[in-house]
Symmetry: C2
Subunit: 229 residues, 2 copies
């Protein structure tokens, strides 16, 4: 079977930078390539877009197929189209970034490519294609966006402590935050629900667990409220 066109067409792919947070570092999901080119090298999950398939749907399919991930926060990042970014020929890639709760996605055995693994964002192996550039663009986007939209919660479990939240922001923003000021500010927004539960199995004073109030945020947002850390 073959497909013929009057003019040449670039190939079209999608790639995803999937971030997670393990209470220490930001992690990025990589797949070890099973095919040439770059056989054996680590690369971002992604692949060719099917005809009749929306771009975001293609990303979700690839994440499911390659890493068993579903239902993740996903946002378009940038489209990379330099003529020589793929040695197989002209290929344009629409890149997305995703945020996942690590606990929900411990890279189960249910994975097609068992060669999927989390790497520390600051400690990535050399990547295939121009994927280092894509990761860097995603890092900058996340850093810029986390301050003005409540997307940080996508990286934490449903119930989290204020220290976890603060540590997440410190990691993403790459600077320390003052504990009292941070708590004052985030609690003043009124977007956290006190679950009345506390941490279990910690060898020190257990912290309260909070949950992000998505509904309240959406209501406030409509009225012109702007989230900001």
């Amino acid at each position: 079977m073959a497909f013929t066109y009057e003019y040449p067409r670039p190939a079209l792919t999608v790639d995803a930078v999937v971030f997670a947070f393990d209470d220490q570092d930001l992690k990025v999901l990589l797949i070890q390539r099973a095919l040439a080119p770059f056989l054996g090298k680590w690369a971002l999950p992604g692949g060719f877009v099917h005809m009749e398939e929306a771009l975001e749907k293609a990303v979700r399919r690839e994440l499911q197929e390659e890493a068993g991930l579903s239902n993740v926060f996903l946002e378009q990042l940038y489209t990379f189209g330099e003529p020589n970014r793929d040695p197989r020929g002209r290929t344009v890639s629409v890149a997305y970034y995703a945020l996942v709760k690590l606990a929900d996605h411990r890279l189960a055995a249910a994975t097609d490519a068992r060669d999927a693994a989390w790497f520390g964002l600051t400690d990535l192996p050399p990547l295939a294609f121009d994927h280092e550039r894509i990761v860097e663009a995603a890092r900058r986007r996340l850093q810029g966006k986390v301050r003005y939209q409540p997307i940080g919660f996508e990286l934490l479990p449903k119930k989290f402590t204020l220290s976890q939240l603060q540590h997440l922001y410190e990691t993403v923003l790459e600077r320390p935050l003052d504990k009292r000021n941070f708590r004052k500010k985030i609690l003043a927004m009124g977007l956290l629900i006190d679950t009345r539960e506390i941490q279990q199995d910690v060898s020190h004073r257990a912290a309260r667990l909070f949950a992000f109030d998505q509904k309240k945020y959406q209501a406030l947002e409509k009225k012109g409220f702007n989230f900001e850390i």
Copy 2:
């Protein structure tokens, strides 16, 4: 001549939302289509990406060909890839937005398509394809970005008055700004050069003309300075 591939490929286009400012309104550049589909309808400038041609280069080529524009501020906006956005078949479009100084680009006769015209952003005709969506995305991007990056100057002549600048911001942000506070803030940044010239041919007190100090901005930016209105 024909081009054959093992798997089907979407067509790849670029489109541009070109903004200009005429001291009254934001304008958008549109091209009247000379071909089916949507023959005779207004559409964004754009077209097919050549093999071996970077995406941004394709946009610049189309702007030159269709409207005689060159050397404009250009930034990637978003990639639109819904399966049915083009009746000719699956077409993915990488959209850009551009900012031009109206005085420099009075749509000269040097234009291939003489069917290019400026329309008020708030008063656009019905557009071909999903171009209304693309314009709306560009409007939101401009509104969000103008406050944190000094891109507004791309829409003004090299020398401008503070009132022109304020009016531009009021138009883009769709809200009034306080004159004294605006001047205080913008002058405090130290990024405007007083050209020591004044307006000519106005029937009231002539205002001073300022110029944006691009070099100083780039130096400050490296040191962590953040532009903000």
